[in-house]
Structures are given as structure tokens and as C-alpha cells.
């Protein structure tokens, strides 16, 4: 790092200083907001709300066809005609560069009224007093449907946007059903060896042994592995160990309630040691890549693509990346999701984490802040195909079919929030539509699109496999639906922003975990060093973090 991240940083900060005006020490105290007569009242004359926007690949493409599409689309027209709100986008940038661009804008204190942020930027804006306290505002202006969405979400995302009891952002509800862990296996390998998907960890070990030793791909070479694993070990969503550990009742990075209602950290519970010992055994037996300590997700993906790996733990999205690449190369590669096996005898519970995907922070200098809540209400009213009587297809649009106009798409919404469980419902509707052909299930254009893609896959077009494997009848949501029906979920008890000790001690502690766990798995240290790790974790600030988390809760 010759020039240095730091140099870049100092530079951007210097710019920040140049433009930084006098700033408030603390956000203004929230005044009580009187309940309005009509939360849908149209502004006359219209008001202007400024924001910034992250352009998806779809919108970038749309801009080529219609250069003014960001100023004139189905949402901006709706905002203007129905709400009397004009949107003024200070800047737009391709989504890959968005976080960086916004960080620079934050450093320069050159911020719009509505600031879409990630979790870290959200915390920064709250700490520095930019974020407006909107507790009372939201209470006064949220529509019934908006409230219903929060309830469906179990208030998880609202709690993530709350600091010290005050709401500081409108969260984009993403829905934490998608946090669920799954076991993905090459079904064609299972069939070749005449085996069943494992329901216990012992069966998983047997399966891994068979995949390593019995040449499941039938190419006569000793080139297959038992279980794909990335060097990060946890929370990558692909080829990590979260699902494996959950089978033992161990929740890495999660917070659990003990019998007296206090929160305790998952990383230091005795179940972790049992799970680690098992992984170490599998590594010792050669069932895990002996070189996993240097392999990141991209490297492990080469293994699933080349057909060396037939088992990984992962989340619902991995058909799109990297499994589709394997399908493109080998049409027989038949990855399927299965419920997590169990090591304890009782059904495994998968951990659900946070649900907010983006935080719409309102600038404390914003005029008419209630306009932002109105924008949120409006989006939910027009978008929520499963719950809203006012839902209109043109606000969602349909990708790929060419039936709808390029400026009619949900991504243009300036403040968005999705239906918490919408992927499960989409899966359910798609299945019903495919089974019955009844058009009532395909009112939502997405359902039709999914079934068209799945049909194309069945006709032999492998490029559509990922849609089939993601939302198809036997896809991950069939498993996730089962988790919910059988009570096989557990909510992470702490999903809020980092406490001060987490920020200060977190890096050292996560380094400690990575070092200890990797060494235990590779056999460089015995599993008994886990006890030592627990003691060190507590001493290096873990106890402070636990105390703070319990105080916040």
C-alpha cells in the first residue's frame, strides 16, 4: 500500500473539512408531532425532496433507452400527481460504487434530505447528529399497511433503525427469512452412490466419506471433496459453517437468551466446542479441503464449478452464484437444497438475523420530513402485491418480457420497503400456478415470469436453471417454508447497531476467533484450547460487550 488507503482517506476528509459548515452537536430534540387529519393529503403547492440514488444494472440499461428515466418514471409521476412531491436527485451512481460515493458525500457533509445508507453509515450519521429523530413523526404518519408490514417483520428492522429508544431511519424491510441456512448437495452424486440426503451429522460425515472415496462423478479420478469450506469459516452465505454449527445448537456471531432472560454470546457456548471438534475430525479424515485456509469464496466456487465439490452449506441465493456456473459447464450437475441435519437429536433451528437492508436516514435539516414517510407509505401501498388493495402492476413492472414500459419498474422507488416474507409467497404462488395453471395465481407478473423461465429450463435451456433452483417447487423455499411451519427458527436476540465496546474490541476478538478456530480445525491446536479461547475472549473485552448488549436490551 504505497500511496495508502490512509492517504486517500485523509484526502477525502480534507475535502470534507473544506466544505464542512457549522454542524449541530446533537440532533434537535424531537418535538411532538400532531396526528394529521389525512396522511394521504396532497401537497399544494408541491414540495421538493432531495435524495441520491444507486443505479442497478437494469436502470443503467434503461437510461440508455430513455435518458431522463430517473426524472420521469412511473414512481416520480405517482409522487407528483398523488402526493404533490417532486423528487430532486443530487446524484446517481452505479450501485457497485454507491457506498463509497456516499461515504465521500458524508465526509463532505454534502447530504440530501433522504439519505439511503448501510448499517455502518447509519450508525455514523446517528452518532454525528445528522440523522433526525423520527420516532413521533413515524408514529403520526405511518399508514395502516406500513404498520402491518412492521408487524409481519416482527418489528425487527424497526428495532435495527432504533438507537436509545429513538427511531432514526425508515428501514427498508428485506425480511429475515432469507437468512435461513440450508444444506446443498449434488443430487446426481447421491443417486450415483445410491445414498440419501443426511438427516444427522453422522450421516453427513458418511456422505462426505462416500463423496471423497467412492468417485461420485464416475470419472475414475480421486478428485472429489467431502464438504466445501471457505477460509472465513462463517457468515459468507456460501460454503461456510453456520449451518453445520447450527446442527449442534451453536450460533456463531449470534446472541441467545439464557434461562433467566439474559443475552449470551454464541461464540463462547460449549456447543461451539462440540461442533469445532467434529469439523476438526472431518478435516483430519481428509473430508475437507486440506488447503481451505487460503481459499476464499471465489476459490471454493471454482470447486463447485469444476465438479470437485458436491456438498456445501449455504443460503437461498447460491443457485445464481456460483452454482449456475457449474450447471453451465456440466448439465448433469443437479444441486438441491435440503434441511439442515441435526447432531443433537432434536430438529435443528436456523438463526434469523436482522431484516433491514437499507436505512433511509432523514437529514435533520430537512423541511417537511413527513413527506419521506408519505413516500414510504406510497411505495408500500403500490408495491405490496400480496397485501395491498391499491397494488398496481405497472409500479412493479415485469423484467424481460417486453410487455411493460422501461420506465415502469419498482426499482425507481425513492424510498422502498419490501414484503417481509415475499420470497416464500412467490415460491408458493409459482408452485400453485405451475400445478394448476390457474391465472389467479399469476396476477403478479413476477410469478408469470418465473414460470416462463422454469418452463424454459425444463425445455433444456440450462441458463434458466438458477431461477428453477431458486424459486422452483423443490427449491430452497420449500425447505425454508418447512422451517417456519415446524418452528425450526430462532431469532438472533441482538440485531442493533454495534455498541461502543463492539466497535473498539470487535476487531481483536474476531481476529482471535478466526485464529483459534482455524487452528483447532486444522489440528494445529487441540479442541481443548477452546476453553482458553473463552477465557481470553472475556478478558479482552467480551465481558464488556455482553454487559452493554444486556443494558441496551
Amino acid at each position: 500500500m504505497k500511496a495508502g488507503l490512509l492517504a486517500v482517506f485523509l484526502f477525502s476528509v480534507a475535502i470534507g473539512m473544506a466544505w464542512a459548515g457549522p454542524a449541530a452537536e446533537e440532533g434537535p430534540a424531537a418535538a411532538p408531532v400532531a396526528a394529521p387529519d389525512d396522511i394521504w393529503a396532497r401537497y399544494d403547492p408541491p414540495v421538493t425532496v432531495t435524495s441520491v440514488f444507486s443505479l442497478s444494472a437494469f436502470i443503467e440499461d434503461a437510461l440508455n433507452q430513455k435518458p431522463d428515466v430517473m426524472e420521469d418514471n412511473v414512481w416520480t409521476r405517482g409522487y407528483r400527481d398523488d402526493l404533490g412531491i417532486e423528487i430532486d436527485l443530487l446524484w446517481t451512481v452505479p450501485s457497485a460504487q454507491y457506498d463509497e460515493k456516499l461515504s465521500i458525500a458524508i465526509a463532505a457533509n454534502d447530504l440530501p434530505d433522504v439519505i439511503p445508507t448501510n448499517a455502518i453509515q447509519f450508525k455514523l450519521l446517528v452518532d454525528s447528529g445528522v440523522a433526525m429523530d423520527i420516532t413521533n413523526l413515524f408514529e403520526a404518519y405511518a399508514s395502516p399497511l406500513t404498520r402491518q408490514m412492521q408487524e409481519l417483520d416482527n418489528q425487527v428492522s424497526i428495532s435495527q433503525a432504533t438507537v436509545d429508544g429513538k427511531l432514526y431511519a425508515l428501514p427498508l424491510i428485506y425480511g429475515n427469512v432469507d437468512n435461513s441456512q440450508l444444506l446443498w448437495i449434488r443430487a446426481d452424486w447421491l443417486e450415483a452412490l445410491d445414498m440419501e440426503a443426511p438427516t444427522t451429522i453422522d450421516e453427513l460425515v458418511q456422505l462426505a466419506e462416500a463423496f471423497v472415496n467412492d468417485d461420485p462423478d464416475g470419472n475414475g479420478e480421486d478428485d472429489t471433496l467431502g464438504l466445501g469450506l471457505v477460509k472465513d469459516l462463517f457468515s459468507t452465505g456460501f460454503a461456510d459453517l453456520n449451518g453445520f454449527f447450527e446442527a449442534f445448537g451453536a450460533y456463531p456471531g449470534g446472541w441467545l437468551e439464557d434461562s433467566s432472560g439474559n443475552l449470551m454470546y454464541g461464540d463462547i457456548q460449549p456447543e461451539m466446542k462440540t461442533a469445532l471438534t467434529k469439523v476438526a475430525e472431518m478435516f483430519e479424515a481428509g473430508l475437507i479441503d486440506q488447503e481451505f485456509v487460503v481459499k476464499d469464496g471465489g476459490k471454493v466456487a471454482e470447486g463447485t464449478t469444476n465438479g470437485n465439490i458436491g456438498t456445501v452449506f449455504g443460503q437461498h441465493w447460491i443457485p445464481f452464484w456460483p452454482l449456475q456456473d457449474g450447471k453451465n459447464r456440466n448439465t448433469n450437475a443437479d444441486w438441491r437444497p435440503f434441511p439442515l441435519p441435526s447432531a443433537t437429536g432434536s430438529p435443528t433451528k436456523t438463526m434469523l438475523g436482522g431484516s433491514a437492508n437499507r436505512y433511509y436516514v432523514l437529514n435533520s435539516e430537512m423541511q417537511n420530513p413527513e413527506a419521506a414517510v408519505k413516500l414510504l407509505n406510497y411505495f408500500i401501498q403500490k408495491y405490496s402485491s400480496l397485501y395491498s388493495p391499491d397494488y398496481e402492476l405497472k409500479y412493479i413492472g415485469s423484467t424481460g418480457t417486453g410487455e411493460t414500459n422501461i420506465d415502469e419498474y419498482w426499482e425507481y422507488g425513492v424510498i422502498q420497503s419490501w414484503q417481509p416474507n415475499e420470497n416464500i409467497v412467490f415460491w408458493d404462488l409459482t408452485k400453485k400456478y405451475l400445478d394448476t395453471g390457474d391465472e389467479q395465481y399469476a396476477e403478479n407478473s413476477l410469478i408469470k415470469q418465473f414460470s416462463v423461465d422454469i418452463g424454459a429450463y425444463h425445455e433444456g435451456e440450462d441458463v434458466y436453471w438458477s431461477t428453477y433452483a431458486w424459486i422452483g417447487p423443490q427449491g430452497p423455499y420449500s425447505v425454508i417454508d418447512g422451517y417456519f411451519k415446524n418452528g425450526q427458527t430462532i431469532q438472533n436476540a441482538y440485531v442493533k447497531a454495534n455498541t461502543p465496546s463492539m466497535t473498539e474490541r470487535g476487531p481483536a476478538l474476531s481476529q482471535l476467533r478466526a485464529e483459534m478456530f482455524t487452528k483447532i480445525i486444522t489440528g494445529a491446536e487441540s479442541p481443548d484450547t477452546f476453553d482458553e479461547y473463552v477465557a481470553t475472549w472475556k478478558r479482552l473485552g467480551g465481558d464488556d460487550i455482553t454487559a452493554e448488549v444486556n443494558a441496551v436490551q
Binding site: M1, K2, G4, L5, L6, A7, F9, L10, F11, V13, A14, G16, M17, A20, P22, A23, E25, I106, A107, A108, N109, L111, I120, K123, L124, L125, D127, S128, G129, V130, K231, Q290, E291, V293, V294, K295, G298, K299, N498, T503, E504, G506, P507, A508, S510, Q511, L512, A514, E515, F517, T518, K519, T522, A524, L540
Partner: protein, 305 residues
């Protein structure tokens, strides 16, 4: 009031156009290199970007205390110095030797071809090279270990071996960068007066003796310059390289200041801490550069100003 001597005035007038021509370069340097130095103040603050330098709370040396109290700081500091010191030495010795040897080659076509080939890895980023190295150094399928196995020895897992990892860093870094150094040193060799070689040839010196007694001393000022400049890098052990190659099993010997800053300062938005470490690095660098510059001025009579 003092008066400039007429001679100085004339010189100034003569040189004025030159100074003016320099101005377009000096202004950006002032804006982009000197003005941002004000940002050093962040190292003493709990910094909030929107409040700027003047309104963020001042915390004195708290950020420095925090860094010193992290459990691994001293180990990391040692790793950094150890790795970069070896890199600096190897990064001078190897290209110097290589350029002298290359200069001994008679055919200019061979010379130029070799020079271009060894220069090439310099243009690859560590992101790409790390992917290649992980494959090349793989104990199971990598080329290097295939060779080791052919010699009848046990394969070595270079990237996961605590003891070897720093040396892997040094060797791969030298391999990537020595082509660049070679270009500079070859240019230095080209600048040596041919008459020296001719007269030594008449005196009966062979090519090897010429290399020892003419080429090497002739290169020395440039070598001193490069060494001086690289001393400033003594706390830069190479973020891109380490970040792309390290893993938890080699943290103990492979974790360096920059990767620590990345994890502590940037991933957690602790800008004050990141700036504190940066300031510390800069202070150490300026001490080293200053000393080396003084030494090279004293003993090698090499001066910039």
C-alpha cells in the same frame, strides 16, 4: 531591510520563467499533498466526518493508547519491520546483481528480451497474483510442490506455515518487483562513461573485473538514492500483498500495521485510530528518510538539494 546582492537579483530574473513554469506543478502539490496534512489532527480526535476537524471531540492521545493496548500491537509492529526490512534488502540486492549480470550479456536482443520478461509481473495487481500464487504454491497440485515431491521431500504448505509465511512474502514481492528495479539500475549503468571501460580494457581488465571495479562503483549513487527512498517504506510491508495472501493461521507472523488499520480503523469506522497509526508510520518514516539522507550526504556525497 536587507538588499539582495545584484548577482542574486540577476540570477533570479534569469530563472524567473523557470520558476513560473514550475508553478502549475507546485500548486497541485500544495493542494493535494500539503493541505491534506491538516488532517493529521484527526489522530487526536474522535472523528465524525460531518462535524469536520473543528467540531469533532478532541481526545488527546486516546487513539494511540487504544492501539498500544490492542493485544497484538507489538507482534504486528515487529512483523511489519521484519518483513519490510527483508523486502528492502532483497529489493536492492537482487536487481543490482541482476542488472550487472544482464549487462554482461553481449547480445542486446537477449538483454532487451530478458529485461521485458522480468518486468512483466510488475504490472499485475496482487489481487490477480494472489490467485495465481495460491495455485502455484498449493501443497497438493502446485508446481513448486510437484518439484519438491520429485526431489523426494515432503510437500510444504507455504501459505499456511507460520514460520515460512514472511519469507514467502519477501520472495514473491521481490519476484514481482525486481524487474522494475532492474530498469532503473540498467539506466544507471548506461550512464557510466564508456571511456572508463575502454581504458580498463586496454589495461587488460576482463569483463568480470570491469563489473566489479567500474560498473558497481558507477551505480553506487543511484543505489544509495533507491536505498534512501525505500527506507521510508520501513513500516509499509505491502498491504495489497499481505491482505490477499494471509489467513488466520499465519496472523501471528503475517499480520502487519496496514492490515490492522484496515480491520480496526476502516471496517469499524474508527477514523481517529486509523489516522493515529498513519501518523505514527509517517513520523517513523521521516526519521528514517532523514537519517539515511544525512548518511548518504555524509559518506556518498549524494544530495538532492
Amino acid at each position: 531591510m536587507f538588499k539582495l546582492k545584484p548577482a542574486t537579483m540577476t540570477r533570479f530574473r534569469v530563472q524567473l520563467p523557470m520558476h513560473l513554469m514550475l508553478l502549475p506543478c507546485v500548486i497541485p502539490v500544495l493542494i493535494f499533498s500539503y493541505y491534506p496534512m491538516v488532517g493529521i489532527v484527526i489522530a487526536f480526535e474522535r472523528f465524525f466526518p460531518n462535524r469536520g476537524f473543528f467540531h469533532s471531540p478532541f481526545v488527546g492521545f486516546k487513539n494511540f493508547e487504544y492501539v498500544l493496548n490492542l493485544p497484538n500491537t507489538y507482534q504486528v509492529l515487529w512483523n511489519t519491520v521484519f518483513i519490510s526490512a527483508m523486502k528492502i534488502v532483497a529489493g536492492i540486492v537482487v536487481p543490482v546483481l541482476f542488472s550487472i549480470l544482464l549487462d554482461l550479456v553481449r547480445s542486446s536482443r537477449v538483454r532487451r528480451t530478458v529485461q521485458t520478461i522480468v518486468y512483466m509481473p510488475y504490472f499485475l495487481s496482487w489481487v490477480i497474483l494472489s490467485g495465481i500464487l495460491i495455485d502455484v504454491l498449493s501443497p497438493n497440485s502446485g508446481v513448486v510442490n510437484q518439484l519438491i515431491k520429485m526431489l523426494g521431500m515432503e510437500p510444504v504448505f507455504f501459505l499456511a506455515n507460520e514460520k515460512l509465511f514472511p519469507f514467502v512474502l519477501v520472495v514473491t514481492d521481490t519476484w514481482k518487483n525486481f524487474g522494475y528495479g532492474t530498469v532503473i539500475f540498467l539506466a544507471a549503468i548506461a550512464g557510466i562513461a564508456p571511456s572508463l571501460y575502454e581504458s580498463s580494457w586496454i589495461d587488460g581488465a576482463n569483463r568480470f573485473q570491469q563489473a566489479i571495479h567500474i560498473t558497481l562503483p558507477g551505480m553506487l549513487p543511484i543505489v544509495a538514492l533507491i536505498a534512501t527512498l525505500s527506507l521510508g517504506d520501513v513500516l509499509n510491508a505491502g498491504f495489497d500483498q499481505v491482505f490477499n495472501l494471509y489467513s488466520p493461521v499465519v496472523y501471528r507472523t503475517g499480520d502487519i500495521l496496514d492490515t490492522l488499520v484496515y480491520r480496526v480503523g476502516l471496517l469499524n469506522s474508527q477514523y481517529g485510530v486509523a489516522a493515529a497509526i498513519g501518523l505514527f508510520k509517517s513520523v517513523v518514516s521521516i526519521i528514517f528518510i532523514g537519517t539515511a539522507y544525512w548518511l548518504s550526504g555524509r559518506f556518498l556525497e549524494y544530495r538532492v538539494f
